[in-house]
Symmetry: C2
Subunit: 225 residues, 2 copies
């Protein structure tokens, strides 16, 4: 039981989901789990600001230790609970190298995805340009082609090789987010196979975003990517 | 000696510098160090593309293991050479929590810095707006105020507490980049004190960007921030 842990999170946010998966994998159930609403601007509430001056979700606390950065929290949990639950950092140096490369590249994938999905939300109306929209979509396409190649080349079945690691904890939510937003499984067969091979893993299924369960179809913003 | 390691890097690039500092701290001198020129577009050369499909620097290889993501490479080096050179990941859980929080927040600092410094390089002429420039500068100012607060609150003298850790390896180059581009030491006294306390550390001094030695003044883009 992890009663000395608190996670403030929002449904459907890949960074929040990363920590939720890590907590499950490390057998840290029973933490204080508080779902907040982005729509209601609850990420700017005092409860969040007390833990996170950026006013962002996730916000995570273990005792009086605060780690709001999602990948940082996952690394911390693996280090702090090494011998508990799934071993998420392999001993093998070659697998570690692949893990670190993919885990950090996953941040680039998420950034390029965000540039497409949140364009109208992030860019004020008078500053929007069709040429920028087109460029962002092309950048995401090129990014996803890279990942198709990585997954095809392997070694799989996981991102760092034969074991489920921190790379999967941190990149899977990005991949799920892609498909939830309409990415075509046929056009990205390797990403789709990876997605489908993991979506029923207990740590992932248990923490599946509740708003996605209510609305499984999602948007189709990425349909043409 | 680290003859089985190769680092392709560009002078003045904070991500490249992170790996150079990590290598020094871990006593991994003697690696194959190849300085390339961004101006001459050498980061798009075949030599780079063979190691890094993104055509970016740094590109780093240990034997046949490739980790181009700079923080990933630093984490890998610490894990692979735990008992060699400086211990960059403390045993203390509280210090680890601070380390991971600051190390990943450092990426946000660098992103906001890049949004200001590279605006005209990244945004095509017809898409530029003074309002975006102003917003980016305000975002960087707010970001740096956060760091002023972190450094004031401590515990110092390093980012994660009493020891020099991966947080310093990965964030110091960003801070140096700020001051090289004209950030006012008086307006950011805590960042300036941190910068000045570390700039002569052997691992940092030895790897100081050669183009900065030639041109210590740098630009003054951040003068008014």
């Amino acid at each position: 039981m992890a009663k000395d842990m608190t996670l403030l999170w929002g449904s459907g946010s890949p960074p929040c989901w990363k920590i939720q998966i890590a907590l499950e994998e490390k057998d840290l159930q029973g933490y204080n789990s508080v779902m907040l609403s982005f729509q209601k601007m609850e990420h700017k509430s005092q409860q969040v600001l007390d833990m996170n001056p950026r006013g962002q979700l996730p916000s995570f606390k273990h005792g009086d230790r605060i780690i709001n950065e999602s990948i940082g929290a996952c690394c911390y949990l693996e280090n702090e609970f090494k011998s508990q639950g799934t071993k998420l950092l392999p001993d093998c140096g070659a697998a570690q190298a692949r893990l670190y490369q993919r885990m950090f590249e996953g941040q680039t994938m998420l950034q390029k995805l965000a540039d497409v999905l949140y364009y109208t939300w992030k860019v004020p109306e008078g500053e929007r340009h069709d040429s920028a929209v087109k460029r962002n979509r092309e950048a995401l396409t090129a990014e996803l082609q890279l990942w198709e190649g990585y997954l095809q080349k392997g070694p799989g079945p996981f991102l760092a090789g034969k074991d489920f690691t921190l790379a999967d904890v941190t990149v899977f939510p990005n991949v799920a987010y892609l498909f939830h937003n309409g990415l075509c499984e046929k056009r990205y067969p390797n990403l789709a196979a990876y997605y489908n091979s993991l979506k029923n893993r207990p740590s992932i299924k248990t923490t599946w975003p509740p708003t996605w369960l209510e609305n499984p179809q999602g948007q189709d913003v990425l349909k043409g990517i």
